[in-house]
Symmetry: C2
Subunit: 538 residues, 2 copies
């Protein structure tokens, strides 16, 4: 996807956004769409709507995607009065055509992409989703499934006039097993509400995201969300036990089992985890919830070099073991920026790198003791030059803030070029160093931070303003560098609309071809979330 | 699949097998094919071979599958002299046609199914596998991929004259990352050897099986093996990070990444995990190894009823928490049989049910204390009537033996009907009770045991000899009962050849249809492991 640079909207990122920390749970960090609950209001109220993509006067700051990017509308049908009447029969009173109401669902939360859908449907049941898709399939109408619309890559909003199929009203818990911790719920349940539901029963959700106040569990599964508990509880590919999915032609695929073990045939649900709504619409989820930890500790440490960061990680895994729940890192530049822009003070002496270690366990006494032994060792061996530990909630939040507010600090530093990469941990920071050397004074700041425990680097570059030459120095360099290390050009955010054309940096041609064959098999008319995930050029 | 009962071989199971405990690691229990390393010798040496399925005189106790079951050979080509010459060029000196050498690979370890392949190929590299499959695809020759040949459902041996593609010589470790614990290796590496390799580096494999001394990691992944560490480290769908697979037409699909997070496109490797070699041949695996636990404890407990077993499990998860690594149960009948047939004594007073709890953690002191608090609570509350704890290796083995030797004890009790089911834990034992009532005196013993922590029941019924009427009382009753509970008719063993026709009890018609479409997409000529996994009738 080649953006038309002339019309590219300067990525001020979070500068103009509401304070997203309001939506965050204490101690829950991350780079995940930090939008507080409720619709995004793009542009001023009362301005003319984007009907038929003909007008951008209402929200000039969010250029329609079709104008900003070199993308052609595929030959889908257009929604007719008869279609609207049919939808009204399927979901009476839940066919939204009011341009004001549609606005929030046409624009992504980063305000980078904007569709011009004229219809949003709000089914409550799987049966309604099935009838809607059957109609769309027969009529060759394109559909964009939408959960909380908190994605980072423009995957959850239309590109042109695709019908928006919202899961917002599919928000019922179907069952919860208090012995096994297995939750079954509809796809539109909000993650935070599910968390509260299972926490009241002494379990936790196996995933946690910055966007928890808005994001839907169906969207989490459709994007294979990583998030904050990944290091401890692993991928959704292991914790999601079953899915109910409606296929492009309206067929309901019921794989909603609640079994930890099931080796009967191919595991079809895996096709839909992480496929970003391009192969089917997830309508219900069965997920395994771990028991709620009784104790949480956080340590914040300074390390003299990245080698010491890696050795601290290895030591931590060995000594803290089963209670380790987060191992995050940030470089000195990050600390400088959170100090400069947000007035946050480092709790430890100045260091080249900082590490945040979190433990979650079933015994406060044991956990404190384990963490204490680990800290004693890393301090005495010189791996760590200074450190502090928190057990009370307020101090834990203060320490987490240093890590989780980096994104916010960067947004105050200027225009931000953002990359979310998976790399072998050993080489993780080399990319930051290489980019710093490559860009020299043309960049304002080059910083590296992220989920070290998961091999997930957030490389961010700031400049006074957007610069095509700086972008040219970064891309495809960053993607090629990542490919050379057999890394991933999208660790946890997916490809959506904005990254679909860099897929080839992480996947071999034979793999991309098989993905295209799968798309053709499951959605032969290509009506499900078109222009997403797969490259525009075959 | 309807077996021809007249020619059915009495399933003496382990009676005639070598002592499989020789192949087991201490403390490693399970119902997984317990064959010691080395080929199975079916029948006496020197007898005429099964060339062309025309002769069964050499090993009369293993009737050829084509004679025992109502199965028709599909119209694949037959191996010609030109084919053999082509194979000799691809894998010189590694084309096995000696009937004696082929015998062990034609028969499964349970001695229930027997193919009559006349060619076994032993590639060393992915490139060789690719060339072999390209040739077979062009020539329409059927292929059965084979790892350690330790499967339980006849999935790893030919049904007719399929070419056997063995991974035995693909046994190289490709890399190991000491920071992340990520291992990359060829598919033919033996699980036990990988365990030793990573344990020397202070990690463990995330799975462990009774068959570890023979089974190949590629076969483990192809069958999505569950095993003994499932409760703690979860499914291979989460721990397998990457795969290299050769498709039916010889295309090499390289998805061998070593990244914990990678959201670039569809996760193709999931297609091959658990597909039993019917969609592609796994040639290399990347897998995440957890740190090696420093302390292991085992408790053996007696419970007055199954309600108390469930409450003990809930309590255990809450109090023992993150160090819980196994929660197994067995009923009083199981204890009676291990006592009667193997002379093992119960370490606790007679109870209706017995539970084995294992902990694995990073601190011996902490773990013992946690387990102690748990035991104090369950004993004082009456959930448990008696219990004993082991920390030394010898006593740990003695306690595990009570659970893991049940299979062996059953084989001494007579003909055994075996079912491996996933059920909601709350209803798990009801099936045993129902079957006991249903069969009345026509069964000798009806017992229930298994991995309670995973919801995995092993229901076993013994009788003096095979009886068609008893089989008729059990099937489809057991499968229908399981289906009514939304359970799985194959929890961890897969479907292979023997169970492929019960798939419909656990999967909806739309799901089975999609599986068949996937098979057609990936293997349009159906040459890969035909007659396996998918039902014989569409």
């Amino acid at each position: 996807m080649v953006p038309r640079l002339v019309s590219r909207w300067p990525l001020g990122l979070l500068r103009g956004c509401p304070d997203w920390r309001l939506a965050r749970a204490p101690g829950a960090p991350g780079e995940h769409s930090p939008r507080p609950r409720g619709p995004v209001k793009a542009g001023g109220a009362g301005a003319p709507a984007c009907r038929g993509c003909s007008s951008t006067s209402r929200a000039p700051e969010v250029t329609p995607t079709r104008l900003r990017y070199a993308v052609q509308r595929l030959p889908f049908s257009e929604v007719s009065a008869e279609d609207l009447a049919a939808f009204e029969r399927i979901v009476p009173g839940r066919v939204i055509t009011d341009p004001l109401e549609l606005e929030a669902s046409n624009v992504d939360w980063l305000k980078m992409v904007r569709g011009c859908s004229q219809v949003l449907l709000r089914p409550r049941t799987t049966d309604e989703v099935s009838h809607i898709l059957r109609h769309c399939y027969e009529r060759n109408l394109a559909v964009t499934p939408q959960g909380g619309n908190t994605g980072m890559v423009g995957g959850s909003v239309p590109v042109f006039d695709e019908i928006i199929l919202s899961t917002a009203l599919m928000n019922q818990v179907l069952s919860f097993h208090s012995v096994s911790g297995i939750l079954e719920c509809q796809a539109g349940c909000i993650l935070e509400e599910l968390s509260q539901y299972v926490e009241a029963r002494d379990f936790i959700m196996p995933l946690d995201l910055g966007a928890k106040g808005s994001c839907h569990i169906g969207g989490n599964v459709a994007t294979n969300a990583g998030g904050l508990r990944f290091l401890r509880y692993g991928s959704l590919r292991g914790t999601v036990l079953g899915l109910e999915v409606v296929l492009a032609d309206g067929t309901v695929l019921n794989c909603l089992t609640s079994l930890r073990k099931d080796n009967t045939g191919y595991d079809l649900k895996q096709l839909f985890i992480g496929s970003e709504g391009t192969l089917g619409v997830i309508t219900a989820v069965s997920i395994l919830c771990p028991p709620r930890p009784k104790a949480v500790n956080v340590a914040f440490l300074g390390c003299p070099g990245f080698t010491e960061v890696l050795q601290t990680f290895t030591t931590c895994k060995a000594m803290v073991g089963e209670i380790l729940s987060a191992f995050e890192f940030m470089d000195a530049k990050c600390m400088e920026l959170v100090r400069q822009h947000l007035g946050l003070a480092s709790p430890v002496q100045d260091s080249a790198f900082y590490v945040l270690v979190e433990t979650s366990g079933s015994s406060a006494g044991h956990d404190t003791e384990k963490l204490g032994h680990f800290l004693e060792y890393v301090l005495s061996s010189g791996l760590v030059s200074d450190g502090t530990v928190a057990t009370d909630q307020r101090k834990i939040q203060t320490l987490w803030a240093l890590r989780e507010r980096i994104t916010e600090a960067l947004s105050h530093d200027g225009y931000v070029y953002k990359y979310d990469l998976s790399l072998p941990v050993e080489r993780l920071y080399d990319l930051v160093t290489d980019v710093r050397v490559r860009l020299g004074p043309s960049a304002k700041n080059v910083v590296g931070y992220g989920h070290l425990g998961d091999g997930n680097l957030h490389l961010n570059v700031t400049a006074e303003a957007f610069s095509a030459s700086l972008l040219g120095a970064l891309e495809p360099y960053v993607y090629a560098w990542t490919a050379e290390q057999r890394g991933s050009v999208s660790a946890e955010h997916g490809l959506g609309f904005k990254k679909r054309d860099v897929l080839g940096y992480s996947k071999a041609p034979a793999a991309v071809q098989l993905m295209q064959q799968l798309k053709l098999l499951l959605d032969p008319r290509g009506i499900l979330n078109p222009y997403k995930t797969l490259p525009s050029q075959a």
